[in-house]
Symmetry: C2
Subunit: 414 residues, 2 copies
Amino acid sequence: MSKALAELMEEYREIASKGLKLDMSRGKPGVDQLELSSGLFSGDECHEKLIAASGVDCRNYGGLDGLPEAKKLFADMLEVAPENIIIGGNSSLNIMYDTVVRAMLLGVYGGHPWIHCEDVAFLCPAPGYDRHFAICEQLGIKMISVPMTPTGPDMDKVEALVSSNPSIKGIWCVPKYSNPDGITYSDETVRRFAALRPAAKDFRIFWDDAYCVHDLDEEGDTLLNLLHEAEKLGNEDMVYIFASTSKITFPGAGVALMAASKNNVELIKKQITVQTIGPDKLNQLRHVRFFGSPEGIRAHMEKHAAILRPKFNTVLNMLEKELTGLAEWNRPRGGYFISVFLKGCSARRVVRLCREAGVVLTPAGATYPYGIDPDDSNIRLAPSFPCVEELQKAMEIFCLAVKIASCEAGSDNM
Amino acid sequence: MSKALAELMEEYREIASKGLKLDMSRGKPGVDQLELSSGLFSGDECHEKLIAASGVDCRNYGGLDGLPEAKKLFADMLEVAPENIIIGGNSSLNIMYDTVVRAMLLGVYGGHPWIHCEDVAFLCPAPGYDRHFAICEQLGIKMISVPMTPTGPDMDKVEALVSSNPSIKGIWCVPKYSNPDGITYSDETVRRFAALRPAAKDFRIFWDDAYCVHDLDEEGDTLLNLLHEAEKLGNEDMVYIFASTSKITFPGAGVALMAASKNNVELIKKQITVQTIGPDKLNQLRHVRFFGSPEGIRAHMEKHAAILRPKFNTVLNMLEKELTGLAEWNRPRGGYFISVFLKGCSARRVVRLCREAGVVLTPAGATYPYGIDPDDSNIRLAPSFPCVEELQKAMEIFCLAVKIASCEAGSDNM
């Protein structure tokens, strides 16, 4: 063992002996962020406030696709029309899962059930969101990796694959502040998505706009509206957009929704009327009362940003100070993650070293289809849940772990 | 036209001209019933009250199968163990639909995906619940009718079919205060269900215990616990129980759940972790706070009964006074429906006559698979939503419509 490695290991053992319990594994809001939405329930005690402006009694059955005023609010947030919106329960993941399931068993607008196809495949820009990949894996949908670039997925590859292979039925995208890279797709990328000419007539873009209003800086990134761009080309039936208030109000008790073309919305409403009488309207009404308008949402999101900014800066400053030369990373202007690419050591080794010292990270490989990072180099850091002090400690351990792993690997970068 | 018919038609035209708008079509609680649960939200304004006793922050992510205290409460209500419970969103219909969908695509415990079977069929005791039948119809599951008897489905037929036909994968049951007949299955019926020996090893009983605590009289019906009976015979994996608070607190904003064996629960949890991070825990916590115990639920249900009893009596008194000889019906001791069997006229004709006079009933045939009542005789009356005065008017029209239709049909019963 080299002298450098021995010294690092001594430092590591000392920290590891402290029995820390820190979690940077998931994009979970901190408690102070949850407090921002305390006012969500004020008014619930007054039963007149449980009746919507449209006269709908939100306590009773009905409202398959959402309250009119909630559809309006979230349509404005996504810059689409209320007719394009279907409101669901508390989880956009649930809506995405159900959307794939319906495609499998019933088919999408203009298509047949995917279970009748010999092969079904999805393109998966990688690194990406592990829960998207898990849906494909569970349902036996083949995943084809597409590399991410600083402007979004490699569109040359996407176009070539989608136009030539009719078994490719979908693609997973997190177009703004992508998970985990924090990349916002460029206007050109969005336009190329809107202009896709898939070999599969029932191909769908699963546009998970999870971080649509989740800017960290005053001036956030701008994402071109995919539904509008697709409409211009008569391609609007190819687009499913998903969003939720999970990271606006409460991750366990928010409102989730999807946006799609008129044809898609009509068919989906017909299909889901067999699954449910409707989602929780009271919770929709609370969100309408609490925000009032998209401006209300924007103002609220600035408070989130004020809490998150120092956390992101803590992580970024430590990376810069300690790991320059050993790793690369993005400086996202929004979202929930910082994606680190190790240059000369194993991500699996670093994640294990961190875990054994009490710091839980997203498992190495989780950001790639089938959990396999071909370079074993990407690690997703989620700075939102711990407080700044905890983050500082966690990052000390993380940086130390990278140095140890690099040293072990005999990297020249050390 | 006979003189009798002419007189009835004159009376009908006079009432029809009043432009009434009355709805007896769905089992929807009345506004006064909703008011009973106004206290559900008290406490929400205090953020300490959003943290569960177990320390779980109900505003944040997590809790795939429900809050421990909510599982306990609803386990006690259903007289099973908390380990048997999985809590879902706001709709037991949604849980049932998703359960069939998972069986189709992923398979149930010990089985293969049903989509790989050449034929999939369900037994449908009829008359039954139209939304159960709609799930089968949408997913291409063949429905086989089984007659209802005063003690539940005809068990000779159920046993013979289930034990001989491996394509029969399930049966829909509303075992207590059945929809629409209001029949509670006898102990013998429940024991025979528990002892079924299906040809399909992955056969499941879909036991929709929608009205488990929904007694109208002080002394309600007693339903034997199917999970316990099945456990005694080592048959517990055959049982799925479903319930919700839709008709306990709020139909749009209650808590739904399922109960099943350890093997089933383990597999389902593994499967749904890909679909969602978890249902709304705040709403579960509200229900725990509001009821405290199963006794709290029982006491609450007595208030519902006090509101519903006069409504059911209004309908039953009118039936007795006006339609004796022309129709038969049950006197349910709980649930939400009164099921009327016409003796000598068409249910379709009666429903149309009612609609044209401003009274909306459940469509004739809806209580049978594929919407086809072989005798065109059953009509489901739902007395919960209108007030007593409106019910009285609606029933006048209904009874008149039956008399007209009987007269038209030249029935000897007139």
